[in-house]
Amino acid sequence: MNHSPLPTLRSIAFFFALGLSIIWAPASHARTSIIDDAGTTTLEPTVRLRFESAAPPRGGANNRMVGQTTVRVHLNLAPWLKHSGRIYLALPAQPPGPLTAIWTAEGRLASGQAHSGNRTLIYAGPITTPFLEDVLRFQFMVDGALVRRPFPVTFRFEFDED
């Protein structure tokens, strides 16, 4: 039985095109915007770092320094009012090196932690008010071997609209 090769080629072409369309279909990523936190304040803008342990262990394995501060967060969500999305606390990678921030919130935002170069989800859902406020109690942790003098730490709040 003879078959014309043409239908087969068409089928191959069809499936090939389909495969390409699947591969090249753009992923539906939420667009990330930086939230205006201009009303955010802190009680102690300078965070005093202390060694987690006053004395080092044998072999010097624990050089971690910790410091605490409280930040009153004020986020302007007016651009996304009556929309839904997710709010992240982003801790960019920055000098002097790896840093960890752990925070507890009072309820509007979620408690969590973030490491340098990462962000953590602190809110998901509808934006029903133009401003969102909460108090975050931060603990920062950094390797004392990286610290010689005061240094700035910057974080920001990001919004991914659904």
Binding site: R31, S33, I34, I35, D36, D37, A38, T40, T42, P45, T46, V47, R48, L49, R50, F51, S53, A54, A55, P56, P57, R58, G59, G60, N63, M65, G67, T69, V71, N76, P79, W80, F138, F140, V142, G144, A145, L146, V147, R148, R149, P150, F151, P152, V153, T154, F155, R156, F157, F159, E161
Partner: protein, 235 residues
Amino acid sequence: MRTHPSARPAARSPRGTAGRSRLADATGLRPRILGAVLLASLSAEASAYTLTLTPASPQTVYLQVGVGSFTKNYNAGGVPGNNTTINVVSTSVAAAAVGNGTAQAMTTDSTAAASNLDGFVFCTVPGQLYIGGFYRTTGATTAAARITATVPASLVNASGSTIPFSSIQWTSSGNGDAGVEVFPGGTFVNGGAQSIGSIASNQWAESCWTFSYLNNTVPAAGTFTGRVLFTLSSP
């Protein structure tokens, strides 16, 4: 501490539609792109929060020779304190044995047997004297902190007779230790500053010293005393 409190996010378009008409207007493209870049830069700075982290306890040294003070073991959150006790290491030589060259073991009135690091019974009292400490500093590894003993020339009795301090030596060990001790054995010098050992940055170091009197001279009768001062110096 806010870096640029005056900038406002109103300059930012969360909808991101501002760029759609740019292609149709090539003549105005460059100024508008520059403007957009400038606004994006400003708003990014305005929407980041900056704190300053300051090392508040950048350097700490602790030296304990004999008894010391910790609020509790370090690994339970203990904090070191000052202890002004001056411990005594002594021996009594029987008249028949004076100067016979047989070293006389010395004992201490120190009760420090357990390490303040973790409570481990590191030394054996009264036969051993605990010596240990730590050097805490920020930043990368630095030169070690050094321990120096300031030694008088002699031990002296009430009538002014002397025994050279070099008549006292010590060996170094510690329960469970193997290899070279961080504060090794030695013999006191006859007056002057004597290096005892060092503590690397962000390390805890400790040893137990067992003293002996060499007993190779015949001094006058009496009680001979002398005080050695140990000093820990960080770079």
